[in-house]
Amino acid sequence: MLGARRHGRVRPGVGWLFLGTAAWVSGGLLALLALPGVDPADAPLVLGLPRRAAFLLLGVGLAPGLVVPLAYALVFDRDTLPPDDLARLHDVARRVREEGERAGDTADGDRGR
């Protein structure tokens, strides 16, 4: 959540994404912990795997691993690094550099005298 902050705040949609993902993963792991026993030999299969194994691999492992990066790409231009932000950063960096160079020149001038 900290990483998604821009100028001290997180956009609600991104915040909900993080909370939802955390709840899904931790809830999924807790649900798997709560389910007892082992699967019988004739257990129903989902995509060729016992249901709990399929839920772990595809639900807890794969699904958030695809949804969250996709969300990252979809909100990137608006919430992560808009083009205006980058242009503004370049402007500020140029100004800081020029001020530094001027201060350096002044100091050099003072030393020269």
Partner: protein, 514 residues
């Protein structure tokens, strides 16, 4: 990860009528021929990159000019190393589905690291001439001590990690290519040095690109052969369920607590891996990071198929008595490849294993050389005049040190490998993952956290190595050190309130806030 696999591999294996992976004499020429083709590609990349490496920024950061695909596959190759191909299938074969807890976090942590670290690191590199992660630590906290401690942690961890990788290279050269282990260590080191010294990280990145594409493609192909050998995934599951149903429970043969701990440690720990984070500096333009998490996740899922597929198929083949039990768990992948895939594909994967190790060594040696020649002198208020030349010399020195360590002591290699991962995580996660995103972080918090991470990791691992003390089962020194350094970072930052962000120059402040 390799060490964890090795620990499990030490458990007794079925002895009766067990089989070992033996390369058929007729197969060796094909395997060697594929390896030679791979070496020729690496050599061509090294020559190409060497001609384009003129400055320290070229050598350590590939001139900050790589594209999205190169970043994706370089991160993929650096993250997975040989574990996925060799240790991973063995681990799954032994531990059941719980072994997947090592790799499942990788799919989620790509987005996590992009949000938490990639943007901030790349933005700082956009406005300041940074070469290394400790450079960013130094700038963020305005502290040479913090920069020096971060560099020290990287340097110590790098040598340890490299030693494990180089030792693994010796084993591969021995078992697959028929070279004696000692020769394998030195030949593999020489190959890495050839491209790491001439082309620096630029050679490493483009070697990784070729290798990453190969890894993903080979993994998918091998998975198709897995499905064929086991009569589909349903056939594999049914065979295993009939004989050992616990194997396919979500935690496999692990305890649930140990499996969930693995998931958590690897979720957070990945945020402290310098050889991966370092690559975020290199992308040509910060906004190209947009599709990085999705691309690298898809690539990782493809590569994970080989670990999952071979481990599952071999378990099913043994359970269904189609093949005898495996005598040495490290032979799980070679046995499947030699027995159930075309020889050329097996040869490509064998070369890929060696290539994966070499790519990790290259990444580590590069960040280690930067720590040695760039960060540590700066921590003492000095700078090295010709960083490119000294970077190359440091690369040779570190690689030779790792090869010597690998040759001298197997026990020391395992100790250093575990120590390296824990050290990276405990030292770097608080100061970078938290510190670049939390304005309340202070200089004192950063220095104290780095020192605590170094001391706790070194202390606990050393005590365990000497047999003086050991942690309860399921509790790792890495996890304890990480929790301690996080607590120290937060605690000391709260106590020394008044974050350092306001003291930063305006451009750096903006890069951390946007």
């Amino acid at each position: 990860m390799l060490a964890a696999s090795s620990a499990l591999a030490a458990s007794p294996a079925p002895a009766a009528a067990a089989q070992e992976a033996v390369i058929p004499p007729g197969a060796r020429p094909t395997i060697v021929a594929v390896a030679l083709v791979y070496l020729a590609v690496v050599a061509a990349i090294a020559v190409w990159a060497g001609r384009r490496t003129r400055t320290a920024e070229d050598f350590f950061l590939a001139g900050k000019a790589i594209g999205l695909l190169a970043l994706t596959f370089a991160a993929l190759a650096s993250t997975f190393s040989s574990f996925t191909f060799l240790g991973g299938p063995s681990f799954l074969y032994l531990a059941g589905l719980g072994a997947m807890m090592f790799v499942l976090p990788a799919t989620l942590t790509n987005a996590l690291s992009a949000w938490v670290l990639a943007k901030r690191l790349r933005l700082v590199a956009e406005i300041r001439p940074v070469l290394t992660l400790p450079d960013v630590v130094g700038l963020r906290y305005g502290s040479r001590a913090a920069q020096g401690l971060a560099a020290l942690a990287i340097l110590l961890g790098v040598v340890g990690y490299m030693a494990t990788q180089v030792a693994g290279l010796g084993v591969i050269m021995d078992s697959v290519f028929g070279l004696e282990k000692g020769w394998g260590i030195w030949l593999g080191t020489a190959v890495v040095l050839a491209y790491a010294v001439t082309g620096g990280i630029k050679a490493g990145i483009y070697t990784d690109l070729a290798q990453g594409v190969l890894m993903a493609a080979a993994s998918v192909l091998v998975f198709l052969f897995v499905l064929e050998a086991g009569s589909g995934m349903a056939g594999i599951s049914r065979t295993i369920l009939a004989t050992e149903p616990e194997f396919l429970s979500p935690w496999g043969l692990y305890s649930p607590l140990a499996a969930v701990s693995l998931y958590l440690v690897f979720s957070v720990g990945v945020l402290g891996q310098p050889h991966v984070m370092h690559k975020f500096f290199m992308i040509r333009e910060p906004r190209r990071l947009k599709w990085y998490p999705l691309l690298v996740t898809v690539a990782m899922v493809l590569v994970i198929l080989i670990m999952f597929g071979i481990g599952m198929a071999m378990k099913a083949l043994v359970a269904g008595e189609a093949i005898p039990p495996v005598a040495n768990p490290d032979d799980v992948a070679p046995l499947f490849l030699l027995g159930h895939t075309p020889l050329v594909l097996a040869a490509v994967v064998f070369s890929g294993i060696a290539a994966a190790i070499m790519s990790s060594v290259d990444s580590f040696v590069n960040v280690g050389a930067a720590a040695l020649t760039h960060d540590l002198p700066r921590a003492f208020g000095r700078s090295v005049r010709n960083e490119l030349l000294h970077g190359r010399l440091a690369t040779v020195a570190l690689a030779v040190a790792a090869a010597l360590t690998a040759q001298l002591s197997d026990a020391l290699v395992i100790f250093l490998g575990i120590f390296g991962y824990g050290l990276f995580a405990s030292a770097l996660v608080p100061v970078l993952a938290l510190g670049l995103n939390w304005e309340g972080a202070t200089r004192a918090g950063a220095v104290a956290s780095l020192a605590a991470g170094l001391a706790v990791t070194l202390g606990l691992e050393l005590l365990a190595y000497r047999g003086v003390f050991s942690l309860p089962t399921g509790v790792t020194a890495s996890a304890l050190a990480l929790v301690t350094s996080l607590a120290v970072f937060l605690g000391v930052s709260f106590l020394t309130r008044g974050g350092t962000t306001d003291e930063l120059p305006e451009d750096l402040r903006l890069a951390l806030r946007m």
